[in-house]
């Protein structure tokens, strides 16, 4: 039963389609679908974790003629994170939302999951479109000036990014006559060199907009600041994680060359420096969190680019950084609903998330930075080690300021909201203590 991953996409789509008929119960139906997705993602992950990869053909045609879904332990983990946090986030904000919000939320989740589990590059593009269009509407949903500003910035950049991805795919297809990621990876060397690099540049530019890497992240601060708390939380764990995974997949499987590794490494380094410095200078909490997200995405990109050189520690580091960032940032965005933190749950959430982001043992963020340092030492990349220390110091500075300002008694919220926030933050502890992620990094991943 758990080897039909297509249900992870089909069920949310079906639910989103039928919600307009049952307007009154829209949020409840959507909640049911997300709960199903979460359960299915957990089942699928445990199946893949013990039995290895799952492939599923669509429409019964064997690849490379037909589309197929290819899920290894890493993409199953990403699907699990997206759907799990989507459910917890929906518990916090679902009850107040109207039925159209629930539909868009479902579509954004289905799209992000699709990006992660598909094995076909054009299919990935389609899911990028779904995710992006749903995100524009969700960001603008608050309907004030800032929300519209964020949504318009994202929409302009996102539409250009989509066309870049499409041109990149078309260039690959014009040469190799295939869209299957495994097939492209196997025959990429037979491509004309100029066209190969042009398609790489276009794919990196296009997906980079969604993955918030420098210099394509002009929309990020405005969008996170303008969006409501739940949507900002959604943006920080679903589309950005799916997009950084897509970039990693392109680097590791489709373009496994030394030059792509260097490009990605340097983009990651610059993104990290700029994100952290900009976060340090922000006054507004949400903007600070948004810039901090940019910095973290740079760190994840550095980890993935080292992982593309076959370093096991770097792969572990990227897994830990992804989990830590998803857990901490989504809970911090929920927490940013009010100026001050709500009671015990708020303080717990704030402190755990901040400690994980700074990199305190034994939280997930610490292991991420630790293994990244170990792998950088193996490669003798001293500037990466210096950068990690630098990032840690800057993060400590601005998060200490944030905690100093925000800890207080002000603000009240519903029990559901508080419980969801605390649950999200707890995953930074849980994944830091469990040996799960080490084992995933030693499983056979990617393939090709």
């Amino acid at each position: 039963m758990v080897n039909h991953p297509v249900l992870l996409i089909a069920i949310p789509l079906l639910t989103a389609f039928i919600i307009p008929i049952f307007k009154k119960y829209g949020a409840a139906i959507a909640g049911g679908a997300i709960a199903f997705n979460m359960g299915y993602a957990i089942g699928m992950f445990s199946h893949i974790y013990s039995n290895g990869k799952i492939y599923e053909t669509i429409a019964g045609f064997n690849p490379p003629v037909g589309i197929f879904l290819a899920i290894d332990a890493l993409s199953a983990l990403l699907a699990l994170i997206i759907n799990l946090f989507a459910f917890i986030n929906f518990v916090a904000i679902g009850k107040e939302s109207n039925y159209k919000f629930s539909m868009l939320y479902l579509l954004a989740i289905a799209g992000s999951t699709g990006i992660v589990i598909t094995g076909d590059i054009f299919n990935m593009f389609v899911f990028f479109e779904i995710t992006a269009v749903a995100s524009y509407a969700l960001i603008a949903g608050k309907k004030d000036k800032k929300a519209l500003e964020g949504a318009i910035k994202y929409m302009v950049l996102g539409s250009i990014a989509s066309s870049f991805i499409l041109i990149g795919i078309a260039l690959i297809y014009s040469q190799l006559k295939t869209l299957n990621i495994y097939d492209i990876a196997a025959r990429i060397a037979s491509m004309n060199a100029n066209i190969k690099w042009a398609s790489f540049a276009m794919l990196l530019t296009g997906i980079g907009v969604e993955a918030e890497i420098f210099p394509l992240n002009g929309w990020v601060p405005a969008a996170y600041q303008g969006a409501s708390e739940g949507v900002a939380s959604l943006l920080s764990f679903a589309p950005s994680k799916a997009a950084i995974y897509a970039i990693a997949r392109l680097m590791l499987v489709v373009f496994p060359f030394h030059a792509t590794y260097e490009i990605a490494l340097w983009i990651g380094v610059v993104t990290l420096i700029i994100g952290e410095l900009a976060a340090f200078m922000q006054e507004d909490v949400k903007r600070m969190l948004a810039y901090s997200s940019i910095g973290q995405m740079g760190l994840i990109l550095v980890a993935f680019s080292l992982a593309s050189q076959g370093l096991k520690y770097a792969l572990m580091a990227s897994l830990f950084l992804i989990v830590s960032h998803a857990a901490s940032k989504s809970s911090l965005f929920l927490l940013s609903k009010s100026e001050k933190m709500y009671g015990m749950a708020g303080k717990y959430t704030g402190i755990v998330s901040v400690l994980s982001l700074i990199g305190m043992p034994p939280l997930a963020g610490f292991w991420g930075k630790w293994y990244l340092m170990l792998s950088a030492m193996d490669e003798k990349l001293w500037y990466v080690i210096i950068l990690i220390f630098f990032a840690g110091i800057v993060e400590t500075a601005y998060f200490a300021r944030y905690l100093h300002r925000s800890i207080g008694k002000d603000g009240e919220s519903s029990l559901r909201y508080k419980a969801a926030m605390a649950a999200m933050a707890s995953f930074a502890i849980i994944f830091g203590l469990l040996p799960l992620l080490y084992k995933i990094a030693s499983l056979p991943l990617w393939g090709g």
Binding site: H4, V6, A10, L13, L14, A16, F17, I19, P20, I21, Y55, E56, T57, I58, A59, G60, F61, N62, P63, P64, V65, G66, I67, A70, N98, K100, F101, M103, L104, L107, G114, F122, N123, V126, F127, E129, I130, V133, A134, Y136, A137, A140, G141, K143, L171, S174, Q175, L176, K177, T178, N180, Y182, D183, A186, R187, S190, N192, N194, I195, A198
Partner: protein, 242 residues
């Protein structure tokens, strides 16, 4: 200064693109014997590139005489489901954002020719649209163009008559039901055959109206969905007014 920098960057980009596209190899030059795709699912080896496969096998495998339709709905049906969803997401987004702004405005009265002409054209637009998507597996066209033709008929009516409004509830129900039918056909494929969106009914004789398995069913669903979606977007934009 910024203007000149912009122009310089645009020119550089243009030169770069030209240098790439000038080297594109013509369509059918990649038929090398070095095509050995190893299927990760069953370990089999394919020795045929995808365009060749489409040209040779479409009629046998899907029963559709229109290869483009077969590719859009069968081979890459999952992408089409995604594209339908993109349109649906955009329509939902528009109505989500215009939710509070709505008020039924009274536009200017159109002139006589527009009024009478659109009344005359509407049934033919609906008929043509329906023809295009019902015959999608036989002739060029399909759900997306057919649905757009239907929506253009309603657009004419909205332009000509300030008081004309399509029943919104019915539109949204039609949109929901036709979208669900697409996904349900896919799930039935998973149930009765082996894969999502796989054909599970007899293929029939290629070239006949009742042929090509689930392709016409899906295209009818897409036609209704696109038609109702585009009509509701246009209508919503009219409601907002000045």
């Amino acid at each position: 200064m910024r203007k000149y920098a912009g122009i310089a960057i645009a020119l550089l980009f243009f030169a770069f693109s030209i240098s790439i596209f000038i080297q594109l190899i013509p369509y059918d030059s990649y038929e090398g014997s070095d095509y050995h795709y190893k299927n990760p699912i069953n370990g089999g080896v394919a020795n045929e590139s995808i365009p060749t496969h489409y040209i040779k096998e479409t009629k046998n495998e899907t029963g559709a005489v229109n290869a483009v339709t077969a590719i859009v709905v069968e081979y890459r049906g999952f992408d089409t489901l995604g594209e339908v969803t993109v349109l649906f997401t955009a329509a939902t987004g528009v109505s989500f954002l215009l939710y509070q702004l709505r008020k039924k405005t009274q536009g200017r009265e159109a002139n006589l020719i527009t009024k009478e002409g659109s009344k005359l054209v509407l049934p033919f637009a609906l008929l043509t649209g329906a023809y295009i998507f019902i015959h999608g597996h036989l002739t060029p066209g399909g759900g997306f163009p057919g649905g757009s033709v239907i929506a253009s008929g309603f657009l004419l009516m909205l332009l000509a008559y300030p008081k004309f409004f399509v029943n919104e509830k019915k539109l949204s129900y039609m949109e929901s039901i036709s979208g669900s039918i697409f996904v349900i056909i896919g799930l039935l494929g998973l149930l009765f055959a082996t894969a999502f969106l796989q054909n599970f009914i007899p293929v029939g004789k290629p070239g006949h109206l009742f042929s090509a398995g689930i392709i016409p069913l899906i295209y009818i669903a897409i036609g209704f969905k696109v038609g109702s979606e585009l009509s509701s977007i246009v209508q919503r934009l009219k409601e907002v007014g000045e």
